[in-house]
Subunit: 316 residues, 6 copies
């Protein structure tokens, strides 16, 4: 039997067609431009907490991870080389309390004694990382969980006695990631590091993502968060900034407009741009397919930070 | 100065975003699936006649070629390997009359004496082919004009004494095209062939495109025409066929539903599908970006012909 | 200043020299023969329990791992391609009890509900695996932690409703390991698997090691345990078997000589040899450098199982 | 039956042998020296006019092209990489008059309005170029017709308003030719160029050949003309110059000895040598196999121009 | 100063030119056809004896080797891959007598006791082989002396007790030669072989050359001798055979026309052709450049033996 | 039948095991460090004289060469790239006297007239070199005899009129050796050289080995002699020097401690170290496996000379 078209379909189709064509004509050059370029996506602990809650459940029902995993796989399917870096604060808190420990913070950084470090490693490497890997694999990607210990990816040193086993990054050895990307694998990185004597450290994932993006000479660094971007006035949703340069970012810092959890994220964003990453994006991870929209359409979503020099030419 | 977003932009954007995301989520898998696959596009003489009229004009004002050339370049930019094959009947007629010759046809095929052959070669190779090459180059592609004589691409023999120097294809030597595609070039082919003694022949471009598609093991063969597709009842626009198999095509021929210029096109379409080309598409070249819409969206445009075996799995 | 030799050194040295030369003349052909060949080493949970106890301590003081890690690095340094597979039973028990759960076993296999599975993943992937990785890295190797989820290395299915989330291996996708070995990396594998829907499973490490050895077409599979090998009469240390064929192993099973934890190990050993692994070795991991001695000297240590066909020619 | 030699054959053969051996001993070192080196041969319009007259005839009877095509194929067969560049003045004149236009020249350059440009393209690309391609293919070569438009080979700009669409070369993009040569193809180039906006231009073939030779870092540039070489005194056949340096060529210009059509040829010859081409040769294309004799024997034919520095060492 | 041509030079040159062109047009196709093909040249002891006499002299005055060495270097320069195999009977005799031993032969093969074997090795490897290597190097080739012992090139076994250390070839391991040819080296082979226990043997050079030609899948095997070829009637110079097939050769043997030293040469020639060598040539090495004339001209010199199947198509 | 272990074997084995393990743990890092590094071994004429005496005997009974050949093959089997350079003074003397010539020396260098040169070449290339090649092949290596003439390996010039055809090295062309090493072959070099006119020369093998080691950028140069190393006081065996730097070597020369045949060896050793060879070793070739012990154990045997800069770090 032949498939016939309904009578008025031609008109409807013709109408929709021009709009669909416009989206494609807009998207294809971005795909060409970024083909083979690396994109580091920081999957924030708060967004992730909604996708992978602390309580135990069946892996195949992690439905909230699906949109994220699909985007990563779609990006790779058209030639981007995605690297996922993830945090996990809320789930760590939950497990610490489960074994009777109380989370403690200094200046927003977790005080990490040996026992806390063990829980951090177990939650990040044993719970969250494999959940993301499995979600990407369910969508046909070939994800591989990576810790900063693997092939000495993240070399760290103790940042301060007071914080305990919190590490400061000394060096990134990106070879392992470079090879994985070349082989079509999608690395999912948990930011545990080690010093040269082999002692492990808890590393802030925002900083980790920025350093990895620099070391990989990434095209883009994307922070998926639970806010809609950077606002000039944090209390005013109308003051959202679509695009700014490093200098403008520095001015915002000086003006005291950046506070709370946004501060470390933006500080590492600035460092990434200064270090050669072409653009950093702060996106609302709760909007479906926010990564695709940011990368493949002219308008974008959230806030984009670019270097002074490249400011003019680097849309998309 | 920072670029701020207008107050109500967020809402509008959010709305449009989900639609744009849907188009992208639909298109990206096609891009992945067809990455590195060859698509032969037959640019019909009648459509081309509107783009490159017989009269002389400035090259840079061939505005009508633009949408076509842009689509070809966009397809290549996301990994398709396009090959353009073109005809040129109207322009040949025009030049023949200019030197005082009257076009003559038998069964829709041009009677080609030596002098006509010379005009055919001059119009195709010296006028139309370079126009298409230049248009693609203006859009950033790297097109290369190719005749069937080059590296013995099209080996032909005289089809009948009555038609004179009209050739029947004996063999295609696709190496030249294969290498050009591998090097990122876009071949633009005029279907002049030669026999082993070196005598040139005028080759029907529909047949030429189909044979080239077979020899290249192409994914798709697209006929850009000036009709909206194949109709069950030629006089009824409502009877347009969206998709059919080889068998259904054979039934249409038997039923006598296929007449006129559509007959050779569909006969070569059937041969191409039988010869391993995954799908043949008859599209209305006057719709802007019709190629993109056919290749990158679920619904498609025009008529698609697939082999029996692959009928079910091969959308897009 | 010149380094002079003590008077009687010459004699001592000359004497020792012939013995040292004999060891080298014996070892070098093994090195040549096994150059570029894969060796899968199963680091058993009980031996590992002494090296990495359940309680928390500084990473750099995992002194017990040192001899093991050094052997792995030395083997690689002379051309072997080592893959480490590890278990972790005792440490899992310890963490389960820490959150108030009681381990439960059926036929020697751990009954694994969802919560237990989560603890298994966290202990293996978050605690033991990184400890081994760090130890190897401290000795100059480039170890990479790998779970069976990574790039779908271990595809599993539920083995029985009664055991819960205990998986049976359906397929091994060894590409990830093959590439890592080719790049000079040392994979350290925790045998967590997943089914095609993405649900994770707890996989017996003995079986996992054997299947990985088969999939890698490994030269050797080594089980490092806390016994001295296979005995004909379990209670008689004098009855230790140095070398046997598959057939002889089958006879031992029939005779009822194999009991307890040795049964699954030897069953998977038999399957590995049948599947093409040249030899399986059961070694006492508590003897320092037992791996080196087994691989590079004529006499060997522990018990070696070879296939009937290769029995005669495959010493070392 | 055995093939026996005639009685006195031995003597005759022995005699001829030493002479034949001498030719070979002379030729082989040139073949070795130039193996894999590029030779650009400008096939002049006047010589070509005898081979491919304006009137229409059967392709396979272009007998006059045979000696030329054979030489090109022989050169390639022993490792040279030949590139043919051709003109076509006489045939263009003939076609212009056919459509009622009168050729017009300023300083030896053709005044080219839009209509003339169209005829130039049609005659060069549609008539002469395919004739040469077919002749080479008849001799077993794999020739490919190339216009300066293909892959933007010749980028040009308008040279003067007065001359209309006559182009001056701005850049050569030799990649297309380099790849063709590497693949064993023989490019046959018609010197139509285009500016960056895509407007086509008529380019002088002598200049075009010289620029292509420079861009390809060619070993030799050969002008096949209908004169016997450069004469010190144009009216005295005895004053033919066999070899001269750039400086000597400049002196000839100063002395006013170079006039007429020889001037642009020698000016571009000088530029080619200055630009790195090892030698430029002006040969009489009417002598059979003049290219072979020039390249493979010590004496040579016609006039050879070399750079000052290389003057002494570069015979053949 | 400009190089001017003498007045009447043009005429002389033009005349000679057509003849020189004819030789080139004849030779170039052979060069193309045999490019990259292996040619084994057996340099016979008798011809060699004139070039390198037994008495001691300065190396640089081995003038007689010059024509031979030049031909080998010229052949290589145009793409042939020459392998030289040499004998040395007369010089061995001379050295044996020098140490007081009398040469002894049975059926034309040298009876070889241990002491004779030592002299054979010393003369071939220490005197003749280096002389040929040096002569080729003087002409710019890169020759390398090779014995059948090197990398076990010639594996032999004792042919009979009566002959002593005369070897029969058991196997050829051509890898060493294949690699040398691929690297542009010219192997010069002395046919000393060894059995698997490492005992050396004296190998007949005619047989050795034929076996090496077979193992290398050579295009041609050339015997340079001191006769003008094979005669139907040995006493009648008029009966020289230019070309014959294997079958015709067999007929000659049957007719008893082949006697003396020609017998082993022709027997191995027949074996070489039967084993896949395209043609075997018996040439008079005393004619200057006889190899070039045989390989690069239509007529040839001496006698050529081809297989039945290839008889018709394989001139040159 | 199962192979059972004797009752008390376990204890014995355990004891020996720790010692054997210690040798291996010591050796493996050297193997890793020197993997793929070149070692030039000079096999001295005096040691060789015991292995291959002047008198004629069966090749397979050269039993004395066995330990040497086995060491070379073992070194290669674990990744070293050995090159053997040999002398042959005693055997040359013997053959000279056999043809009635009396050896004559000036300052320890052989006066070499034309006839002597011929004997030198015949003994080195025709007798000793093939003996070493065969011995290595008997042990499974793939040795290839090389003279300094091959591919112009050793370019020399006459050192003085008084010495006759004794050559001084002008240049080493190591390509041939580099390629052989890359292909797994073991070159065995006789140090005959030639000047650019092709005249051969006798080259001192100690100097030759040092120059070859420099040209190959060798890791080590080993002189196998018939003494136990360098002594501070030649008459006092207790004064053997285990390790010294270039400077210390220079001091020994100044102190007049170095005399006789040791002088040229140590002078070339100093030059080799200065030229980039990491270490030079003077060993007693009469100790079995002395090469293995020197290269793969911490203590070493004989005397090791290193450069000042590398003195501290370069044991083994």
């Amino acid at each position: 039997m032949m498939a016939m078209r309904s009578g008025n379909g031609a008109i409807t189709r013709k109408f929709a067609a021009s709009e669909r064509a416009a989206v494609l004509v807009e998207a294809l050059p971005y795909i060409q431009r970024f083909w083979g370029r690396t994109v580091v996506v920081k999957y924030g602990g708060n967004v992730l907490a909604e996708a992978v809650p602390a309580e135990t459940k069946l892996d195949e029902f992690d439905a909230e991870l699906d949109s994220f995993a699909q985007d990563i796989v779609l990006l790779q399917s058209v030639g981007f080389l995605p690297v996922v870096v993830h945090g996990g604060g809320p789930q760590i808190d939950s497990w610490l309390s489960r074994i009777g420990k109380k989370p403690e913070f200094v200046d927003g950084l977790r005080v990490t004694d040996l026992e806390t470090l063990e829980v951090v490693k177990m939650v990040l490497l044993g719970k969250l990382n494999p959940s993301i890997v499995q979600a990407i694999n369910r969508h046909g990607g070939r994800a591989v969980g990576v810790s900063g210990l693997d092939s000495s990816l993240i070399v760290a040193t103790k940042s301060s006695e007071r914080l305990g086993f919190v590490g400061e990054i000394v060096a990134i050895n990106p070879d392992l990631l470079v090879r994985m990307l070349a082989e079509g694998l999608i690395p999912v990185v948990a930011t545990i590091g080690a010093d040269t004597a082999g002692q492990g450290y808890n590393i802030n994932a925002d900083f980790g993502a920025a350093e990895i993006a620099r070391a990989l000479d990434a095209e883009k660094l994307v922070y998926l968060t639970n806010i809609d971007g950077v606002r000039r006035d944090p209390s005013d949703p109308e003051s959202l900034i679509q695009k700014m340069t490093e200098t403008e970012l520095a001015e915002l810092f000086e003006a005291g407009s950046i506070t709370g959890g946004m501060a470390p994220k933006l500080r590492s964003a600035g460092a990434a741009v200064a270090g050669g990453v072409n653009s950093v994006h702060i996106l609302d991870g709760r909007i479906e397919h926010s990564i695709l929209l940011e990368m493949l359409t002219d308008e974008g979503i959230g806030t984009m930070i670019v270097s002074e020099k490249k400011g003019g030419e680097d849309g998309g």
